[in-house]
Symmetry: C2
Subunit: 188 residues, 2 copies
DNA sequence: CTACGTGATGACAGCGACTGACATCGAATG
DNA sequence: CATTCGATGTCAGTCGCTGTCATCACGTAG
């Protein structure tokens, strides 16, 4: 047996999510999280840059996945179709995580600081997507606009998935949202 | 003469903007801002909810203006055209404020916390726009999507205005961005 | 087998953002 | 003139977060 119990990071993550759910984000101190995990406050900050990051561990891998899917779309695909491929790929990650996602969004929705953090993660995705589209030869401002549209569709589709009374396929909601967006922006 | 110098809030605002520009946001303490304004730290927090809000005083009035313009668009106007009217109205506010806007964006661009705050202000605008569109009879998810598109066009248009080598009309950049977005989302 | 380096953690002090509670005092009000 | 009120000051305290140094099981070289 090692000097310490294994998986300190995992214990911190679990403790944080539990406490945020039980009594809310603001009412939880980092010292409490660390204590529940059998560690010290200082150690928490060695694993997470700040109190909010615990809720966003998956963000970077999701960004990567999104970007890879867009980059891997057929060269012939229009920018918006490459983005659609990215949405499709990202949707699959959430399969079987509906309840977990719902709880997490509830925590975030209850606190402005957390919403800010979520928004900047989405903005980071948008910037990465714009970059990817530019590499595909898309000029500005088309690249940035298409990327922003992709994130907007993700937000709306995800929101509908979370709040839907009966569970539906996330990827289908994404496709519907994208179609709706196309309809709404169609010139008359 | 009153017990105190007048316009405490104005002095705080000025001091904060100066210090954020001179040495950066993070390197400035609230105590320093207050001292330069001839006040105490506690008084700063009576005027501003936090250290970031100083940079976002105009946000709520801009949201109001945007919403009013959308609400006031002809009933016959399509949602996207109502949003276009809002973008037109908002653009006018920035007339003659190019240099000021540029400086402000430079401060924000240098700090992630400030970007987070800006993003949540834009998200608030998006939510208000969606609400306004719903009142105009637009169903979901069209209302949310159109609102998100409006904010996306604003972001891209504004960015182009700020970084343009030669100064151009903001409202024209907004129109161009909207047209580009329409082109990019047009089904083939 | 021993010495040494390494990596994860603890312990502790300190800064700065932010808050609550109470005191102060000029000005408006009657 | 007495009272109330509003804006500010004062002070103590919490909490997020950081820098620094100590500790000690573990692996590894000799």
């Amino acid at each position: 047996m090692g000097r310490w119990e294994p998986d300190a990071r995992g214990r911190l993550t679990k403790a944080a999510l539990e406490l945020y759910s039980e009594r809310g984000y603001e009412q939880t101190t980092v010292a409490e999280i660390a204590r529940r995990a059998g560690l010290t406050e200082r150690t928490f900050f060695r694993h997470y840059a700040d109190k909010r990051e615990v809720l966003f561990v998956g963000a970077s891998s999701m960004e990567e996945l999104f970007v890879q899917a867009v980059a891997g779309a057929p060269e012939s695909a229009a920018p918006i179709d490459a983005i659609a491929a990215g949405l499709e790929a990202v949707s699959k990650v959430f399969a079987g995580r509906h309840e977990h996602s719902r709880q997490r969004q509830a925590v975030i929705a209850a606190n402005a600081e957390l919403q800010e953090r979520e928004l900047i993660k989405l903005a980071s995705i948008s910037a990465a997507l714009a970059d990817t589209l530019r590499r595909r030869g898309v000029a500005e401002p088309a690249a940035s606009l298409t990327a922003e549209v992709g994130v907007a569709v993700f937000k709306v589709g995800f929101e509908r998935w979370i709040t839907a009374s009966e569970e539906r396929e996330l990827s289908q909601l994404m496709r519907e949202s994208l179609d709706e967006l196309k309809a709404v922006t169609a010139s008359s």
